[in-house]
Amino acid sequence: MMTTSFDKNMSAVAFAEAGEHDTARQILGENAAKQHGKSPAPAAKKKPYLKTIIFGTISLSAYYMLFTNEKLVTEIFTMGGWRWVYPVGAAFFFSFIHGAFASNLLSTLGLEAKK
């Protein structure tokens, strides 16, 4: 059954009057979130720990691979000509992987844009 926001508010009031403050709050919170896309009382958003760890690991291993093969990489990447695709491609690759890690890291630290 679909409930309108009026219905929800009324049931919240009913719960509040009956002393069930927590339930009332829960109903109101959910309601606001669905109506406006933002909630005055946001339910604790799940932090992307797993994503941060996965992207962090990929990024770190890519950096590790690059620096352990430093000599080979710098040699090949600076040959010039069509080999420009190596440095430019690597920069793109790292920006996606490491960029995703950085984005998730900031979310994990609770740093999000103002909604």
């Binding site: 509040a16 403050h21 709050r25 109101l28 606001a32 005055p40 009382a41 946001p42 950096y63 690059l66 620096f67 430093e70 990489v73 710098t74 040699e75 990447f77 600076t78 040959m79 010039g80 000509g81 080999r83 420009w84 695709v85 190596y86 440095p87 430019v88 690597a90 920069a91 793109f92 790292f94 920006s95 490491h98 960029g99 950085a102 984005s103 890291l105 900031l106 740093l111 999000e112 844009a113 103002k114």
Partner: protein, 446 residues
Amino acid sequence: MKKLLIILMFALLPLSLFAHSAMAAGDGPSKDMLKGIITEVNAAERTVVFEKDGTKEIVVLAMNEKMQPEDMKLNQKVLINLDKHAEAGNVMKDVSVMFMDMNASKLIALLVIGAVGGLLSGFIGSGGAFVMTPAMMSLGVPGAVAVASNMCHKFPKAMVGAYKRWKYGQADIKLGLVMASTAVIGVQIGIKIQKYILAQFGGAGSNLYISAVFMVVLVFVGGYVFYDAWKLAKGGGKETVSKLALRMQKIQLAPMMHFKTAKVTISAWITIPVGLLTGMLAATIAVGGFIGVPGMIYVIGASAVVASATELIIAFVMGAWGSVQWGLSGLIDIRLALLLLATSLIGVQLGALGTTYVKDYIIKIVMATTMLIVAVSRGVKIPGYLIDLELMNPIQENTLALLEGISFWSLVAALGSAALIIIVAMVKGMTADSRSKKAVLGVSNG
């Protein structure tokens, strides 16, 4: 967005076809530069046997009078500048090892510069480049490699920043692409002017020209942005479209263009000069954003938030284009680019989300502060160039060294103070936001 970026990336590929045409400031090495390996040193004849990179061509080069045979690095990739003015051909002017040895302190320095540069870039749309290249050079990286590696770090950073700010509804992709396409032409014009000045007045003349452009643009534009931000701060921070932009928007000259996010309808004939100047400045002082962002605000009529976000799109296109050029010459030290990226990708996203918490004029304040302090760094270099051109009497060596020091540290100060303003404004904005959320919660809880 990712799809769009990939399309854009492929659109950039054909540009590489006519890439070799532009080879000057920000776009490639000079023709007097050789890249390769010294395979043999002949101390008695003061010559070296040099194997050119790629073609494997063997040439014999002579040392100049200041060079010592033991300074020649064998079997390492080196960059050699030839002395154009030497009477005998193939005389070396300087030799520099292409890939510096990385140690812990250099690594930390690169990570710190990356983080602060990224923060600034995410917040005001450009920044960092003016300090990254000199900083890398002072770590022992040859100039051309420093410029190339900075370029290769700039475009992924700008891409990530542009993506974030597009998600926040701040970046106008159409305006960014229109500006970028004219800016690319502007770069070519800028290079032509540079080459002309270099041919007419030599290295010192060219340096003087660059510093003069730096000073004029930064002092006048930076000063005006600061004045505007100060007025806004006093008047409660409500931003209005500038009178000049309103007048420009009234010009009905086909083709008219509508920019949705910037909420502007303007003739393409107005955006073209702004884009051209952005590119010309980028070719001259490596930071086109110092014209691009104020241009979009005061001439086109976008808000500071939209202008700074859109600048990131321009920086991405121009950075990717420039990186292809430098990649063709094989001068990008990918280690440097990726170390800068390690922290700048975090910084740029932090700066981007920071813009959602601050008032519009804070962006202007950060921009103006950076511009005015960078102006000092270039200003103190002018006496040195004037002496080189014999337009001024020589001054003491240690005074010149002091001026050099002031120049470098004022760049550091520019970055530091900008980062400080951003962080303080962001923390204030976040605290106010969480307080207001709590207040709402309090009301709804009765």
